[in-house]
């Protein structure tokens, strides 16, 4: 009996949606009819982005579903990483996890320096700062430090799991975060001065949470201004409000 197989798939664009559908059907491109249901839209800066949708119909004889992939043995790399860190302390565990990731990300001659930072107020545990260097490491910072945040998140998760307890690992690349923190503190002071001079609230550019936190902390003890974050998600930004009574 001939069964007609139809599948609707979505993806970031039409090409991706078709490719995904072919994989699921286990069919070749020339065996299916493609009907584009929605072209999708990348939107403007991700606003109003819409996934593309296509309907795939397998022509003629029903294609055989693709055989499930053969089980892959746990990769030697994972075994190696696991063995390497067993029974070691937090510093060595975090360092070897990060080195493994850097290697897989194609960074050559990677080195990782570890230092214990000062515990921030109200935090019981001081963060462990891992500063990575190596050839081509700049590629791991990313726009507004996005890639670095991802690398930190994954390093922290794996390290915590290996240690079976939460590890407050901070990943830095060639001192990028340290320098960024310095310039954010200077920016905070400058903008506070401006707020006082003009008597108006100063609105900063949108920033990720940890950067906003640096601004808030930098001005926490300032006697003449108050800081407040406004806006949602990616657009959230710090405002610096001069105290009205203190106008000169």
């Amino acid at each position: 009996m001939e069964t007609e197989r139809v599948l609707e798939v979505s993806g970031a664009d039409v090409e991706i949606a078709i490719a995904k559908g072919l994989i699921r059907l286990g069919a070749n491109r020339d065996e299916v009819e493609v009907e584009v249901l929605d072209d999708g839209s990348r939107g403007l800066f991700g606003v109003g982005a819409r996934e593309a949708r296509v309907r795939l119909r397998v022509r003629g004889k029903a294609a055989q579903p693709s055989a499930s992939p053969p089980p892959t043995p746990p990769s030697a790399r994972v075994e190696r990483a696991r063995a390497k860190v067993s029974g070691k302390d937090e510093v060595e565990t975090a360092r070897s996890v990060l080195l493994e990731l850097l290697d897989l990300l194609g960074v050559e001659k990677a080195r990782v320096e570890v230092r214990r930072a000062e515990p921030a107020e109200g935090e019981d545990k001081a963060p462990l700062v891992l500063n990575a260097r190596g050839v081509g490491i700049e590629a791991l910072i990313g726009r507004r430090g996005e890639t670095l945040s991802a690398l930190q998140h994954i390093t922290r998760l794996i390290t915590s799991r290996e240690l079976e307890s939460y590890s407050n690992v901070v990943v830095d690349i060639d001192g990028f975060k340290a320098r960024r923190e310095q310039s954010l503190r200077r920016l905070a002071q400058r903008m506070a001065d401006q707020a006082l001079r003009t008597g108006r609230t100063v609105v900063l550019e949108p920033m990720p949470p940890h950067e906003r936190r640096i601004i808030h902390i930098a001005l926490r003890d300032h006697p003449l201004v108050t800081t407040q974050s406004v806006g949602e998600g990616e657009r959230r930004k710090v405002t610096i409000i001069p105290h009205r009574e203190q106008g000169t």
Partner: protein
């Protein structure tokens, strides 16, 4: 050349309870790489993370490797 599949495998197998149920397949197109990731049902949440943070972090990292090859990459969790 560092492989996207290996990167995803290392990260995911390090995070899940059952690494034997982790499968990654890599389909290479001319301009596009598709990575399909399968994990055991109990490990889904762990791999997705809060608000999809973990799977998105993995996507961000594989993009670094894809960019070096001048390709786009998409990672699907099945």
């Amino acid at each position: 050349m560092a492989s996207m599949k290996e990167l995803v495998e290392f990260i995911v197998k390090s995070l899940v309870n059952d690494p034997s149920q982790v499968y990654v397949s890599e389909i290479n197109g001319e301009n596009l790489v598709i990575l399909e990731l399968r994990v055991g049902p109990e490990d889904m949440g762990r791999v997705i993370g809060k608000d999809g943070r973990t799977v998105n972090a993995i996507r961000t990292l594989v993009k670094v490797l894809a960019a070096k090859q001048g390709k786009r990459v998409t990672l699907e969790l099945l």
